[in-house]
């Protein structure tokens, strides 16, 4: 692989990388302090809570980390919206009907019903699914978290039942987010045979031309003004040689 070392293309700027890892850290703390409250009967949860210094400290950490999470998520949404609307940023993360088609094509490809995998743009459907999961789920968690933090204040404006409902939403959504991250995201960025032992893009911000051609062919074509359709057979044989 090293021989293609100079053939890397910048995919993410430093700010995106910092944002990702801040989000990861915040998420980890929230999961640790949150799920140990949800699964309070498990001894490992009790160990976490007691090690942190008790339930009140755990909740305090969870809530202030929640504020940090909101501080990452909300400015991101505002900045992205502003960028798309006024700075002509590429809305490449917006879900497109092609994404659904790509998903179906890929599943067919996995099953051997399709000859080639889906040809994706800058973000494939898996990445969009995760991104929007974090954004929409995050907003849901921020809103319900705020309700749970200030139940009496909430009850001034909303029916009392919204508080246990917010708790149900918060706790279920947390479990879902946790499972999606540990199963899907960790698979795609660590254990997937395509990236194993680790996907380096979120560390270096750069992607090899090789991987880009393979995973984001449409973006590659647009970027370099070439068509990859013809060279596909050649490329797969090259890949075989490498491995």
């Amino acid at each position: 692989m090293k021989k293609f070392g100079d053939e890397y293309i910048r995919r993410f700027g430093l700010s995106r990388i910092i944002e990702h890892w801040l989000n990861a850290a915040v998420f980890a703390v929230l999961v640790l302090t949150g799920l140990s409250q949800k699964f309070h009967d498990y001894s490992v949860s009790q160990w976490i809570v007691m090690t942190l210094g008790g339930i009140d400290v755990t909740r305090l950490i969870h809530r202030y980390t929640g504020i940090l999470f909101a501080g990452l998520t909300i400015p991101h949404i505002l900045a992205a919206s502003f960028g798309f609307l006024f700075l002509k940023w590429q809305p490449s993360i917006i879900i497109h009907k092609n994404d659904f088609r790509d998903a179906i094509v890929n599943i067919k490809y996995y099953l051997g019903l399709e000859e080639h995998p889906a040809r994706c743009d800058r973000y494939d459907y898996k990445q969009k699914f995760e991104y929007w999961g974090v954004v929409v789920g995050g907003l849901l968690m921020i809103a319900t978290g705020a309700i749970l933090w200030m139940p009496a204040f909430t009850a001034r404006f909303l029916p009392g039942e919204f508080i246990p409902a917010a708790k149900a939403l918060h706790t279920n959504e947390a479990l879902l987010a946790f499972l999606v991250i540990v199963i899907w995201h960790i698979y795609n960025s660590v254990f997937s045979p395509e990236v194993f032992p680790i996907d380096t893009v979120m560390f270096t911000g750069k992607i090899s031309k090789e991987r880009m051609m393979h995973e984001h062919p449409l973006e590659y074509e647009r970027l370099f003004g070439v068509s990859l359709e013809g060279s596909k057979a050649e490329k797969t044989s090259e890949e075989e040689m490498m491995t």
């Binding site: 309070h40 996995y110 909303l158 508080i163």
Partner: protein, 464 residues
């Protein structure tokens, strides 16, 4: 033939004669026989007050007495020739006077109590009160076994404490016999005392005596005693509150009975010192059932406060133990089924925010702040049915309780508590629907993603 006939008659005659009377008769000296000539007759002496004293002496009593070897005049000083007339105001004066003579022979006192009694005025107890006069016996022979002490203590005796308080030391045998301790002897509790030993002790007051005596319970009931050492009553006592109850205040002294037998009687013990609380309790759903329906399923004071190691109920530890106390009955399926009550109340509380917080506080060993437990909504001694008129669980009343901790709680706030119900379409439909949605969505999502991962790995392996 004739000889044996005569012998039979002789035997019959002998049998008709009580042997002991014969022997008594034979042991009587001539001078005593002179006394008995008159004193075997039925005759009375009348005192000034009209009180009568029989002058008849039962010859059989004399025969059984340890004093059968001495003569009448040895004690009475009279002989048949010298029989001066004396006058006494009353019978007691005569008795006291007569008893003085005992000390002529019995110069040393076996026990301190004799010394004390004899040093008191003759109006007090004299020798013959306990030992008898003509039928005089060693005290230990007077009665057998357990009730040796009653020789003296069945009499109307009393003691005076330093404070001037008087206390009867008369013991009613009937009361002893209904006690669970009826097979114990007096000295098992009143240790240091025996037929040989009766030390003198001086207590300042009756209360001091009771407190000191209650210490003897621990000789058998050490487990209970050691638990009382952790109790608030003992603590009060050691801090100088002598009114704090000791064993005998609740269990009785001579009529000891188990506290477990009858719940109402047990609760009434507490009433003596805690009348206000007891009154409130009688009006609660539990107390009402106990008193009006004689329902023994309900808790009494000691079920929550414990009997021996009751701790201060104002402490946080006590508060934190409340869900467990209520849970003792309210999580018992069989018991609650009798009254159509749900046992979900405990579980729903424990899984709720308050219950979880409480659980961790207990683990931490300290509470950061008071957490709502059962009693905060349902009341303490005044617990009512949840559907009773003006019950504290009615929303309007409940909001006041919420406001104790959630200062800014408004009228809507109590609805945030789904009142021990598992969310359903009827109760808390919003919560139910959220949970229901995720119960389908989470497995759908996770199974879908895992399938994709498996397919992806499989495709990769096939391509290689």
């Amino acid at each position: 033939m004739l000889f044996s006939y005569i012998l039979g008659i002789i035997l019959l005659v002998l049998a008709a004669f009580p042997l002991n009377s014969l022997s008594a008769e034979s042991s009587i000296s001539a001078s005593d026989q002179a006394c008995m000539m008159c004193h075997s007759q039925e005759q009375d002496l009348t005192f000034d007050g009209g009180e009568k004293l029989s002058l008849k002496v039962n010859i059989e009593d004399l025969g059984r007495s340890v004093h059968r070897i001495i003569s009448c005049s040895d004690c009475h000083g009279f002989t048949a020739d010298q029989h001066p007339k004396r006058t006494f105001k009353n019978r007691r004066q005569y008795t006291a006077y007569s008893a003085k003579v005992c000390t002529q022979c019995h110069v040393s006192h076996k026990t301190k109590i004799h010394e004390k009694l004899l040093s008191q005025s003759p109006k007090g107890t004299v020798c013959s009160d306990c030992h008898g006069s003509h039928s005089i016996q060693r005290a230990r022979e007077l009665s057998k076994g357990n009730h040796y002490c009653l020789n003296c203590h069945q009499r109307e005796l009393s003691i005076t404490f330093k404070t001037g308080e008087k206390q009867s030391i008369h013991i009613n045998e009937a009361i002893l016999n209904i006690s669970v301790h009826k097979n114990l002897s007096c000295t098992d509790c009143h240790f240091g005392f025996s037929s040989e030993e009766h030390p003198l002790r001086a207590f300042r007051s009756k209360r001091d005596y009771s407190i000191a005596m209650s210490e003897s319970c621990r000789r058998c009931h050490f487990d209970k005693y050691s638990r009382t050492l952790e109790g608030i009553h003992y603590n009060l006592l050691t801090h100088g509150n002598l009114n704090a109850p000791v064993c005998t205040d609740c269990h009785g002294a001579h009529s000891v009975y188990s506290g477990r037998k009858e719940k109402l009687a047990n609760a009434k013990k507490c009433e003596r010192c805690h009348p206000e609380v007891y009154k409130t309790y009688t009006q609660s759903v539990h107390g009402g059932a106990l008193i009006l329906e004689h329902n023994e399923d309900v808790p009494i004071c000691s079920d929550c406060h414990k009997a021996h190691d009751m701790t201060d109920p104002r402490t946080t530890d006590f508060r934190n133990a409340v869900p467990q106390m209520c849970g003792n009955c309210h999580a018992d399926k069989d018991l609650m089924a009798k009254y159509g009550l749900s046992t979900a109340v405990v579980e729903t509380y424990l899984q709720d925010f308050h219950g979880v917080t409480l659980k961790f506080y207990k683990q931490q060993g300290k509470s950061v702040k008071p957490i709502a437990v059962c009693i905060d909504c349902h009341g303490i001694h005044d617990i009512t049915k949840v559907n009773a008129p003006n019950a504290p669980m009615i929303k309007a009343n409940l909001v006041k309780r919420c406001q104790k901790c959630h200062k800014d709680a408004t009228a809507n706030f109590p609805d945030s508590w789904v009142s021990h119900y598992k969310p359903s379409l009827k109760k808390a439909p919003l919560v139910y629907m959220v949970n229901f949605g995720y119960r389908i969505f989470i497995p759908f999502m996770i199974i879908g993603l895992i399938l994709q991962i498996i397919l992806h790995v499989w495709r990769y392996a096939v391509n290689r």
